[in-house]
Symmetry: C2
Subunit: 198 residues, 2 copies
């Protein structure tokens, strides 16, 4: 497999289940390779550098931001997370397909940087399903929930800027869709080179 792999970005509103779908795709033996994320959080017992995550100090992470070494980076619960361009490219060059879970705006900026990346937006079966999920277990106050719903609406408005849309009705079925998209994308003319020599 010397042909360069396909970079797929999976995105969608909070609560739609994009990470669950990505985990389902990556758990299959199907040509997709897991590229660890860089993070400043501490390793949990058993986690290995370069396998589960690239564990970086705040300073290392900051200097990589300055050097433009991330596709994107976010802060979550006081820790930073980012996808390293070098790690992704090494995996693509080895012929693996790479699936990144990225938030809605991050995915659109990666697509600008890498027009050959394939962007997939995950949708709920119905908007009401997402609203129900964002409501959680009823322990959050109304304001918090309605703020989440407003953010989800804004995020959903980006859906048509993605190449594909996958509905998360059943996780394994949605994972099948992601695989089908990858299979078809491998057949795109611009990813293929036919030799007239032989």
């Amino acid at each position: 497999m010397s042909k360069r792999g396909i970079l797929m970005i999976i995105s969608g509103p909070s609560g739609v289940g994009k990470s669950t779908i990505a985990d389902a795709v990556l758990s299959r033996n199907n040509g997709f390779s897991h590229v660890p994320t860089a993070t400043t959080r501490n390793p949990r017992p058993g986690e290995k550098h370069g396998v589960d995550y690239f564990f970086l100090s705040q300073e290392e992470f900051e200097s990589k931001i300055q050097a433009n070494e991330f596709f994107e980076h976010i802060e979550y619960a006081g820790n930073r997370y980012g996808s390293l361009v070098s790690a992704v490219d090494a995996s693509l060059d080895a012929g693996n397909d790479v699936l990144l879970v990225i938030d809605v705006r991050g995915a659109i900026s990666i697509k600008k940087l890498r027009p050959d990346a394939v962007t997939v937006f995950v949708l709920p079966p119905r908007f009401s399903d997402l609203k129900a999920r964002l409501g959680g277990r009823g322990t959050d106050d109304e304001d918090t929930v309605s703020r989440r719903v407003e953010i989800a609406k804004t995020e959903l408005n980006y859906r048509d800027r993605y190449d594909y849309q996958v509905i998360n009705d059943v996780v394994e079925r949605a994972a099948d869709d992601v695989e089908k998209i990858r299979d078809a994308e491998r057949l795109r003319s611009f990813r293929n080179e036919f030799s007239m020599e032989e």
Copy 2:
């Protein structure tokens, strides 16, 4: 199935096996529907108008050309053949996917007319395989064969103007590729409409 179907055009050089692949796809129960071609040739025993072909007189065929009612039309062995826009659209509107086998230039003009059509170029595994097939059983003179090879080369030069490229190594495997492309195309953002209402 009220959603409009997908128009797929399968094309490629003479002798590459595009019709065989299309027949394999259409023989499966997979959402593709066979839309009969219009022709001026006489029905063979058992052939039914509107099922196998639309049998037209020379005058009827000619008037439909004038009225721009064909996607494309060709003459072969003294008979005319053409794909009727109305028949294709009726099938698409009923939610069927439609697969048309069209020659290389014809496919490119249909894509201009219908940018949402999906164009697939069929390639031989190697150029030498196609040359061998065009040589036939060795009963044709060298000039005839080398003329065919030159035409095939010219046709192959259009391959990058197609959306996808499928290699005809094994017919059923190539037919699988065509189905995968259709499955992924169904997930394209521009073919989907998510409602924020519910």
